[in-house]
């Protein structure tokens, strides 16, 4: 699975996700990536693209959860994304990348690695696979 989220200086957000699914999955099985609100979501607050075991991500409506936690609980993107991943299911099942309308970035995951990269206007960039520590 691959995905990208972006926000411009005017606060416009967008999210996109694409995947080949699972090795050895049943033919006809739909995962989270094409399901709006599960693997992909964007609104006026943030944009989210998820990866992992689609069945868990769909049950958790993971991408929409991040936006809802920001909107209704007033969490920051970082808090909302971390909480949503933590609550989404057992360890080893998912991760996501997200940006907020004001240019925050979050890339939490509960697997032991996630291929990820980000950049912000203030010059911060990161390209990583495993936890930084």
């Amino acid at each position: 699975t691959v995905g990208c989220v972006a926000v411009d200086s005017a606060g416009n957000t967008a999210a996109a996700t694409s995947t080949g699914g699972y090795v050895n999955k049943m033919a006809g099985r739909i995962g989270d990536s094409p399901l709006i609100g599960a693997g992909t979501y964007a609104n006026h607050l943030c944009a989210v693209s998820a990866t992992g075991i689609g069945e868990y991500i769909i049950r958790a409506t993971l991408a929409r959860e991040v936006a809802a936690l920001m909107e209704y609980k007033g969490l920051s993107l970082t808090e909302a994304a971390a909480y949503a991943v933590e609550q989404s299911g057992p360890r080893g099942t998912c991760g996501l990348v997200a940006v907020s309308a004001n240019g925050e970035v979050a890339m939490p995951y509960n697997t032991n690695g996630m291929f990820r990269a980000c950049a912000r206007e203030d010059g911060y960039t990161e390209v990583a696979i495993w936890p930084k520590n």
Binding site: C4, A15, A16, G20, P34, N112
Partner: protein
């Protein structure tokens, strides 16, 4: 805070001792896609165009499970899916069950922009792609010796594999749930 971009190439049980010959090309590809996206944002492109551009690039890399690097189903076939969404308008498009489309994310965007719907799947999505002249390829473009081997391994261990789970000996059935390690 200004513009920002983030991207992923999938996650899972990525072995910490991933050999350099597997790790370095993926890190290089991530950095290349990041640079592509940053340049597009800096040149004033809309985030919808930026995310489509970056995901297309990731789909074209054989290292990631999407587009060219897609994995195989239990039947040894390809079934790609994608979606895209614009935050301001909440317009969105999605496709599933694609077997020949080179860039599924661009077909998802066409669904968003050229139909009154959000989601098209399987044969109708393929027909929509042909009707709009979207680039397609023979299955040999997608079905590679590497992925055939990965499917064989997964079948041997009777498991489905998340993007980067290294194959391990057959796990005892735990409620039939897939073992991803």
């Amino acid at each position: 805070m200004g513009w920002a971009i983030a991207l992923h190439g999938g996650g899972g049980d990525i072995p910490i001792d991933l050999p350099d010959e597997l790790r370095i090309p993926r890190e290089t590809a991530l950095r290349h896609c990041l640079d592509l996206g940053v340049s597009a944002l800096k040149s004033g492109k809309h985030p919808l165009d930026v995310t489509e551009l970056v995901v297309r690039e990731l789909e074209n890399h054989p290292y990631f499970n999407a587009g060219k690097g897609s994995v195989l189903t239990a039947q040894g076939t390809i079934e790609m899916e994608a979606s895209i969404m614009d935050g301001k308008t909440k317009r969105c498009g999605a496709v599933s069950g694609l077997t020949t489309v080179v860039n599924p994310v661009s077909l998802a965007r066409l669904v968003m922009e050229k139909t009154p719907h959000i989601y098209l799947a399987f044969n109708s999505a393929e027909a929509f792609a042909r009707a709009h002249g979207v680039e397609t390829a023979e299955s040999t473009y997608f079905i590679t010796p590497e992925n055939i081997e990965r499917l064989k391994q997964a079948k041997e261990f009777n498991r489905v594999q998340l993007d980067y789970t290294a194959p391990t000996p057959k796990q005892p059935e735990i409620g039939g749930d897939s073992q991803i390690g």
